[in-house]
Assembly symmetry: C2
Protein backbone atom coordinates (compact mmCIF):
# COMPACT_ATOMS: atom_id res chain seq x y z
CA UNK A 1 0.00 0.00 0.00
CA UNK A 2 1.38 3.41 -1.02
CA UNK A 3 1.12 5.94 1.82
CA UNK A 4 0.08 9.54 1.16
CA UNK A 5 1.61 12.48 2.97
CA UNK A 6 0.44 16.07 3.04
CA UNK A 7 2.82 18.94 2.31
CA UNK A 8 2.57 22.73 2.00
CA UNK A 9 0.98 23.79 -1.28
CA UNK A 10 3.31 26.80 -1.15
CA UNK A 11 6.49 26.32 0.84
CA UNK A 12 7.15 29.08 3.40
CA UNK A 13 10.87 28.42 2.90
CA UNK A 14 10.76 28.38 -0.90
CA UNK A 15 11.86 24.75 -1.09
CA UNK A 16 14.86 24.88 1.25
CA UNK A 17 13.64 21.60 2.71
CA UNK A 18 12.88 22.92 6.19
CA UNK A 19 9.18 22.02 6.26
CA UNK A 20 8.52 18.96 8.36
CA UNK A 21 7.32 16.82 5.44
CA UNK A 22 11.03 16.64 4.50
CA UNK A 23 11.70 14.40 7.52
CA UNK A 24 9.01 12.00 6.45
CA UNK A 25 10.13 12.04 2.80
CA UNK A 26 13.71 11.34 3.92
CA UNK A 27 12.61 8.42 6.12
CA UNK A 28 10.55 6.93 3.28
CA UNK A 29 13.50 7.29 0.90
CA UNK A 30 15.87 5.64 3.41
CA UNK A 31 13.66 2.55 3.58
CA UNK A 32 12.78 2.55 -0.12
CA UNK A 33 9.05 3.08 0.35
CA UNK A 34 7.33 4.94 -2.51
CA UNK A 35 4.77 7.54 -1.43
CA UNK A 36 2.28 9.99 -2.77
CA UNK A 37 2.00 13.65 -1.93
CA UNK A 38 -1.09 15.79 -1.43
CA UNK A 39 -0.39 19.54 -1.23
CA UNK A 40 -2.61 21.51 1.16
CA UNK A 41 -3.17 25.26 1.10
CA UNK A 42 -2.76 27.38 4.25
CA UNK A 43 -6.51 27.94 4.18
CA UNK A 44 -7.46 24.27 3.80
CA UNK A 45 -5.00 23.37 6.55
CA UNK A 46 -7.24 25.04 9.13
CA UNK A 47 -10.50 23.57 7.80
CA UNK A 48 -12.55 20.53 8.70
CA UNK A 49 -11.20 17.84 6.39
CA UNK A 50 -7.58 18.51 7.25
CA UNK A 51 -8.30 19.16 10.93
CA UNK A 52 -9.88 15.72 11.09
CA UNK A 53 -6.48 14.36 10.06
CA UNK A 54 -4.39 16.83 12.05
CA UNK A 55 -6.01 18.48 15.09
CA UNK A 56 -3.35 21.23 15.12
CA UNK A 57 -3.85 22.11 11.45
CA UNK A 58 -0.31 21.44 10.26
CA UNK A 59 1.57 19.30 7.79
CA UNK A 60 2.68 16.57 7.37
CA UNK A 61 0.04 13.93 7.87
CA UNK A 62 0.44 10.30 6.86
CA UNK A 63 -2.35 8.12 5.50
CA UNK A 64 -2.00 4.42 4.78
CA UNK A 65 -5.20 2.46 4.41
CA UNK A 66 -7.26 3.11 7.52
CA UNK A 67 -4.29 4.50 9.43
CA UNK A 68 -3.98 8.28 9.71
CA UNK A 69 -1.13 9.85 11.68
CA UNK A 70 0.20 13.34 12.34
CA UNK A 71 3.37 14.61 14.10
CA UNK A 72 6.47 14.07 11.99
CA UNK A 73 8.32 12.36 14.86
CA UNK A 74 5.56 9.79 15.26
CA UNK A 75 5.36 9.25 11.50
CA UNK A 76 9.11 8.69 11.20
CA UNK A 77 8.94 6.23 14.11
CA UNK A 78 6.04 4.41 12.44
CA UNK A 79 8.04 4.08 9.21
CA UNK A 80 11.16 3.02 11.12
CA UNK A 81 9.25 0.31 12.97
CA UNK A 82 7.75 -1.19 9.83
CA UNK A 83 10.83 -1.20 7.59
CA UNK A 84 14.48 -2.14 8.06
CA UNK A 85 17.14 0.56 7.92
CA UNK A 86 16.24 3.24 10.44
CA UNK A 87 16.44 1.45 13.79
CA UNK A 88 18.93 -1.15 15.06
CA UNK A 89 17.70 -4.72 15.52
CA UNK A 90 19.14 -5.01 19.02
CA UNK A 91 16.45 -3.95 21.53
CA UNK A 92 18.80 -1.89 23.69
CA UNK A 93 20.33 -0.02 20.76
CA UNK A 94 16.84 0.48 19.34
CA UNK A 95 15.58 2.09 22.56
CA UNK A 96 18.60 4.41 22.54
CA UNK A 97 17.94 5.44 18.93
CA UNK A 98 14.34 6.28 19.85
CA UNK A 99 15.70 8.34 22.75
CA UNK A 100 17.65 10.43 20.22
CA UNK A 101 14.46 10.88 18.20
CA UNK A 102 12.77 12.42 21.23
CA UNK A 103 15.89 14.44 22.08
CA UNK A 104 15.87 15.98 18.61
CA UNK A 105 12.25 17.12 18.66
CA UNK A 106 11.77 17.89 22.37
CA UNK A 107 15.16 19.10 23.64
CA UNK A 108 16.97 20.50 20.59
CA UNK A 109 14.16 21.79 18.38
CA UNK A 110 12.08 23.99 20.77
CA UNK A 111 14.75 26.68 21.37
CA UNK A 112 15.48 26.70 17.61
CA UNK A 113 11.78 27.19 16.85
CA UNK A 114 11.64 29.88 19.54
CA UNK A 115 14.36 31.76 17.66
CA UNK A 116 12.34 31.47 14.44
CA UNK A 117 9.25 32.78 16.22
CA UNK A 118 11.29 35.71 17.56
CA UNK A 119 12.67 36.51 14.12
CA UNK A 120 9.35 36.06 12.30
CA UNK A 121 6.77 37.32 14.76
CA UNK A 122 8.63 39.60 17.15
CA UNK A 123 10.99 41.25 14.68
CA UNK A 124 9.26 44.62 14.98
CA UNK A 125 8.84 44.52 18.75
CA UNK A 126 10.94 46.95 20.77
CA UNK A 127 12.66 44.13 22.61
CA UNK A 128 13.71 42.02 19.64
CA UNK A 129 17.37 43.10 19.34
CA UNK A 130 17.89 42.86 23.07
CA UNK A 131 16.17 39.52 23.52
CA UNK A 132 17.58 37.61 20.54
CA UNK A 133 20.98 36.99 22.22
CA UNK A 134 19.19 35.38 25.18
CA UNK A 135 17.34 33.01 22.85
CA UNK A 136 20.51 32.23 20.93
CA UNK A 137 22.32 31.57 24.21
CA UNK A 138 19.82 28.83 24.97
CA UNK A 139 20.44 27.26 21.56
CA UNK A 140 24.24 27.45 22.02
CA UNK A 141 23.91 25.75 25.39
CA UNK A 142 22.21 22.75 23.76
CA UNK A 143 24.52 22.74 20.74
CA UNK A 144 27.52 22.65 23.07
CA UNK A 145 26.13 19.63 24.90
CA UNK A 146 25.30 17.85 21.66
CA UNK A 147 28.71 18.63 20.19
CA UNK A 148 30.41 17.24 23.32
CA UNK A 149 28.40 14.03 23.09
CA UNK A 150 28.93 13.52 19.36
CA UNK A 151 32.70 14.07 19.58
CA UNK A 152 34.35 12.72 16.46
CA UNK A 153 31.77 10.04 15.80
CA UNK A 154 29.90 9.95 12.50
CA UNK A 155 26.47 9.47 14.09
CA UNK A 156 25.01 9.84 17.57
CA UNK A 157 25.01 6.18 18.55
CA UNK A 158 26.60 3.67 16.20
CA UNK A 159 25.09 3.42 12.72
CA UNK A 160 22.85 6.10 11.17
CA UNK A 161 19.36 5.86 12.65
CA UNK A 162 16.02 7.65 12.77
CA UNK A 163 17.54 9.57 15.71
CA UNK A 164 20.17 11.05 13.40
CA UNK A 165 17.57 11.67 10.72
CA UNK A 166 15.53 13.85 13.09
CA UNK A 167 18.56 15.50 14.72
CA UNK A 168 20.08 16.49 11.36
CA UNK A 169 16.68 17.76 10.22
CA UNK A 170 16.39 19.93 13.33
CA UNK A 171 19.94 21.30 13.05
CA UNK A 172 19.34 22.20 9.40
CA UNK A 173 16.90 24.85 10.63
CA UNK A 174 19.95 26.77 11.95
CA UNK A 175 21.61 27.00 8.56
CA UNK A 176 21.17 30.73 8.08
CA UNK A 177 21.65 31.65 11.75
CA UNK A 178 25.43 31.26 11.87
CA UNK A 179 25.10 29.39 15.16
CA UNK A 180 25.91 25.92 13.87
CA UNK A 181 29.25 27.10 12.47
CA UNK A 182 30.56 27.52 16.02
CA UNK A 183 30.55 23.71 16.32
CA UNK A 184 32.58 22.20 13.46
CA UNK A 185 31.73 18.61 14.36
CA UNK A 186 28.03 19.44 14.15
CA UNK A 187 28.54 21.12 10.76
CA UNK A 188 30.23 17.93 9.53
CA UNK A 189 27.47 15.81 11.07
CA UNK A 190 24.76 17.76 9.25
CA UNK A 191 26.78 17.56 6.01
CA UNK A 192 26.97 13.77 6.36
CA UNK A 193 23.20 13.69 6.65
CA UNK A 194 22.71 15.90 3.61
CA UNK A 195 25.10 13.75 1.59
CA UNK A 196 23.02 10.61 2.02
CA UNK A 197 21.40 9.59 -1.28
CA UNK A 198 18.01 9.24 0.45
CA UNK A 199 18.25 12.80 1.77
CA UNK A 200 19.13 14.10 -1.68
CA UNK A 201 16.23 12.29 -3.33
CA UNK A 202 13.83 13.63 -0.71
CA UNK A 203 15.22 17.15 -1.06
CA UNK A 204 14.91 17.07 -4.84
CA UNK A 205 11.33 15.81 -4.61
CA UNK A 206 10.18 18.60 -2.28
CA UNK A 207 12.01 21.21 -4.35
CA UNK A 208 10.49 19.97 -7.61
CA UNK A 209 7.01 20.65 -6.27
CA UNK A 210 7.82 24.35 -5.93
CA UNK A 211 10.09 24.96 -8.89
CA UNK A 212 7.42 23.39 -11.09
CA UNK A 213 5.13 26.16 -9.86
CA UNK A 214 2.56 23.57 -8.93
CA UNK A 215 -0.27 24.66 -6.72
CA UNK A 216 -1.54 21.15 -6.23
CA UNK B 1 15.06 -6.45 36.97
CA UNK B 2 14.15 -3.30 38.92
CA UNK B 3 14.86 -0.14 36.90
CA UNK B 4 16.41 2.93 38.52
CA UNK B 5 15.37 6.46 37.61
CA UNK B 6 17.09 9.70 38.53
CA UNK B 7 15.15 12.58 40.09
CA UNK B 8 15.95 16.05 41.44
CA UNK B 9 17.62 15.92 44.85
CA UNK B 10 15.77 19.15 45.62
CA UNK B 11 12.61 19.74 43.65
CA UNK B 12 12.43 23.15 41.98
CA UNK B 13 8.64 22.94 42.35
CA UNK B 14 8.65 21.86 45.99
CA UNK B 15 7.02 18.51 45.18
CA UNK B 16 4.13 19.72 43.02
CA UNK B 17 4.87 16.84 40.69
CA UNK B 18 5.88 18.94 37.69
CA UNK B 19 9.41 17.56 37.29
CA UNK B 20 9.66 15.14 34.40
CA UNK B 21 10.44 12.12 36.59
CA UNK B 22 6.74 12.25 37.52
CA UNK B 23 5.79 11.08 34.01
CA UNK B 24 8.06 8.07 34.30
CA UNK B 25 6.89 7.27 37.84
CA UNK B 26 3.28 7.47 36.65
CA UNK B 27 3.95 5.14 33.71
CA UNK B 28 5.72 2.63 35.97
CA UNK B 29 2.79 2.74 38.41
CA UNK B 30 0.26 2.25 35.59
CA UNK B 31 1.97 -0.99 34.53
CA UNK B 32 2.77 -2.15 38.07
CA UNK B 33 6.55 -2.08 37.68
CA UNK B 34 8.49 -1.37 40.92
CA UNK B 35 11.43 1.01 40.55
CA UNK B 36 14.24 2.59 42.47
CA UNK B 37 15.08 6.27 42.66
CA UNK B 38 18.46 7.97 42.72
CA UNK B 39 18.34 11.68 43.59
CA UNK B 40 20.88 13.87 41.80
CA UNK B 41 22.01 17.34 42.89
CA UNK B 42 21.99 20.28 40.46
CA UNK B 43 25.79 20.23 40.60
CA UNK B 44 26.16 16.50 39.93
CA UNK B 45 23.64 16.79 37.08
CA UNK B 46 26.18 18.76 35.04
CA UNK B 47 29.15 16.50 35.81
CA UNK B 48 30.73 13.54 34.08
CA UNK B 49 28.94 10.55 35.58
CA UNK B 50 25.48 11.99 35.00
CA UNK B 51 26.36 13.53 31.64
CA UNK B 52 27.41 10.06 30.50
CA UNK B 53 23.81 8.99 31.17
CA UNK B 54 22.16 12.22 29.99
CA UNK B 55 24.08 14.38 27.51
CA UNK B 56 21.86 17.39 28.29
CA UNK B 57 22.41 17.13 32.06
CA UNK B 58 18.80 16.70 33.09
CA UNK B 59 16.55 14.27 34.91
CA UNK B 60 15.04 11.72 34.55
CA UNK B 61 17.27 8.96 33.29
CA UNK B 62 16.29 5.30 33.26
CA UNK B 63 18.70 2.43 33.89
CA UNK B 64 17.76 -1.22 33.55
CA UNK B 65 20.67 -3.66 33.33
CA UNK B 66 22.84 -2.47 30.47
CA UNK B 67 20.14 -0.18 29.07
CA UNK B 68 20.43 3.53 29.87
CA UNK B 69 17.88 5.99 28.49
CA UNK B 70 17.11 9.68 28.84
CA UNK B 71 14.20 11.85 27.58
CA UNK B 72 11.00 11.22 29.52
CA UNK B 73 8.99 10.67 26.32
CA UNK B 74 11.34 7.93 25.17
CA UNK B 75 11.37 6.33 28.62
CA UNK B 76 7.57 6.29 28.83
CA UNK B 77 7.44 4.74 25.34
CA UNK B 78 9.99 2.10 26.38
CA UNK B 79 7.89 1.20 29.43
CA UNK B 80 4.69 1.19 27.37
CA UNK B 81 6.21 -1.14 24.78
CA UNK B 82 7.40 -3.68 27.35
CA UNK B 83 4.32 -3.84 29.57
CA UNK B 84 0.59 -4.04 28.96
CA UNK B 85 -1.64 -1.14 29.88
CA UNK B 86 -0.32 1.98 28.19
CA UNK B 87 -0.70 1.24 24.47
CA UNK B 88 -3.53 -0.49 22.59
CA UNK B 89 -2.84 -3.95 21.13
CA UNK B 90 -4.23 -3.02 17.71
CA UNK B 91 -1.36 -1.72 15.55
CA UNK B 92 -3.33 1.19 14.09
CA UNK B 93 -4.62 2.38 17.46
CA UNK B 94 -1.12 1.93 18.89
CA UNK B 95 0.43 4.18 16.23
CA UNK B 96 -2.21 6.81 16.96
CA UNK B 97 -1.48 6.69 20.70
CA UNK B 98 2.22 7.19 19.97
CA UNK B 99 1.25 10.16 17.79
CA UNK B 100 -0.41 11.74 20.83
CA UNK B 101 2.76 11.12 22.84
CA UNK B 102 4.73 13.17 20.32
CA UNK B 103 1.97 15.79 20.13
CA UNK B 104 2.14 16.28 23.90
CA UNK B 105 5.89 16.84 24.09
CA UNK B 106 6.56 18.52 20.74
CA UNK B 107 3.42 20.54 19.91
CA UNK B 108 1.79 21.29 23.27
CA UNK B 109 4.70 21.48 25.70
CA UNK B 110 7.14 23.91 23.99
CA UNK B 111 4.93 27.04 24.22
CA UNK B 112 4.12 26.11 27.83
CA UNK B 113 7.83 25.80 28.63
CA UNK B 114 8.43 29.08 26.78
CA UNK B 115 5.99 30.76 29.17
CA UNK B 116 7.87 29.28 32.15
CA UNK B 117 11.16 30.54 30.74
CA UNK B 118 9.62 34.00 30.31
CA UNK B 119 8.30 34.02 33.87
CA UNK B 120 11.47 32.57 35.43
CA UNK B 121 14.27 34.07 33.37
CA UNK B 122 12.82 37.19 31.73
CA UNK B 123 10.68 38.40 34.62
CA UNK B 124 12.92 41.42 35.24
CA UNK B 125 13.40 42.32 31.59
CA UNK B 126 11.76 45.50 30.37
CA UNK B 127 9.66 43.61 27.85
CA UNK B 128 8.24 40.93 30.14
CA UNK B 129 4.78 42.42 30.81
CA UNK B 130 4.30 43.33 27.16
CA UNK B 131 5.51 40.01 25.75
CA UNK B 132 3.76 37.58 28.12
CA UNK B 133 0.34 37.97 26.42
CA UNK B 134 1.93 37.00 23.09
CA UNK B 135 3.35 33.83 24.62
CA UNK B 136 0.06 33.04 26.31
CA UNK B 137 -1.75 33.61 23.03
CA UNK B 138 0.32 30.82 21.47
CA UNK B 139 -0.61 28.48 24.31
CA UNK B 140 -4.31 29.37 24.01
CA UNK B 141 -4.17 28.64 20.30
CA UNK B 142 -2.98 25.08 20.98
CA UNK B 143 -5.34 24.58 23.92
CA UNK B 144 -8.27 25.60 21.73
CA UNK B 145 -7.31 23.05 19.09
CA UNK B 146 -6.82 20.31 21.69
CA UNK B 147 -10.11 21.18 23.38
CA UNK B 148 -11.93 20.98 20.04
CA UNK B 149 -10.43 17.56 19.31
CA UNK B 150 -11.11 16.12 22.78
CA UNK B 151 -14.74 17.29 22.78
CA UNK B 152 -16.66 15.38 25.43
CA UNK B 153 -14.52 12.26 25.27
CA UNK B 154 -12.76 10.99 28.38
CA UNK B 155 -9.41 10.44 26.65
CA UNK B 156 -7.84 11.55 23.37
CA UNK B 157 -8.36 8.34 21.41
CA UNK B 158 -10.35 5.54 23.00
CA UNK B 159 -8.99 4.10 26.25
CA UNK B 160 -6.41 5.87 28.43
CA UNK B 161 -2.95 5.54 26.86
CA UNK B 162 0.62 6.78 27.18
CA UNK B 163 -0.52 9.65 24.93
CA UNK B 164 -2.96 10.80 27.60
CA UNK B 165 -0.35 10.25 30.31
CA UNK B 166 2.03 12.68 28.60
CA UNK B 167 -0.67 15.16 27.56
CA UNK B 168 -2.10 15.39 31.09
CA UNK B 169 1.43 15.76 32.46
CA UNK B 170 2.11 18.63 30.07
CA UNK B 171 -1.21 20.39 30.81
CA UNK B 172 -0.56 20.12 34.55
CA UNK B 173 2.28 22.62 34.07
CA UNK B 174 -0.41 25.25 33.39
CA UNK B 175 -2.10 24.80 36.74
CA UNK B 176 -1.12 28.13 38.24
CA UNK B 177 -1.36 30.08 34.97
CA UNK B 178 -5.14 30.33 34.84
CA UNK B 179 -5.03 29.42 31.14
CA UNK B 180 -6.38 25.90 31.42
CA UNK B 181 -9.54 27.13 33.17
CA UNK B 182 -10.68 28.71 29.90
CA UNK B 183 -11.24 25.18 28.56
CA UNK B 184 -13.54 23.27 30.94
CA UNK B 185 -13.23 19.99 29.05
CA UNK B 186 -9.44 20.14 29.40
CA UNK B 187 -9.76 20.87 33.12
CA UNK B 188 -11.95 17.77 33.47
CA UNK B 189 -9.50 15.76 31.33
CA UNK B 190 -6.58 16.69 33.58
CA UNK B 191 -8.66 15.91 36.66
CA UNK B 192 -9.42 12.44 35.27
CA UNK B 193 -5.69 11.87 34.90
CA UNK B 194 -4.94 13.06 38.42
CA UNK B 195 -7.67 10.82 39.82
CA UNK B 196 -6.09 7.64 38.49
CA UNK B 197 -4.71 5.49 41.32
CA UNK B 198 -1.37 5.14 39.50
CA UNK B 199 -1.05 8.92 39.23
CA UNK B 200 -1.80 9.32 42.93
CA UNK B 201 0.76 6.71 43.94
CA UNK B 202 3.40 8.35 41.75
CA UNK B 203 2.55 11.80 43.07
CA UNK B 204 2.76 10.63 46.69
CA UNK B 205 6.12 8.96 46.04
CA UNK B 206 7.73 12.08 44.55
CA UNK B 207 6.27 14.27 47.31
CA UNK B 208 7.52 11.94 50.06
CA UNK B 209 11.09 12.43 48.90
CA UNK B 210 10.87 16.15 49.59
CA UNK B 211 8.64 16.26 52.66
CA UNK B 212 10.99 13.73 54.29
CA UNK B 213 13.71 16.34 53.84
CA UNK B 214 15.84 13.76 52.11
CA UNK B 215 18.89 15.00 50.25
CA UNK B 216 19.62 11.59 48.81
Amino acid sequence: MIPTITVFERSPDGGRGLARDMRVRWALEEVGQPYEVRPVSFKAMKEGAHLALHPFGQIPTYEEGDLALFESGAIVLHIAERHAGLLPDDATARARAITWMFAAVTTMEPPIVEREIAVLLERDESWHAQRLPLVEGRIRHRLGELSARLGDADWLDGAFSAGDLLMVSVLLRLKRSGLLEEYPNLVAYVARGEARPAYRRAFAAQLALFTAGSTG
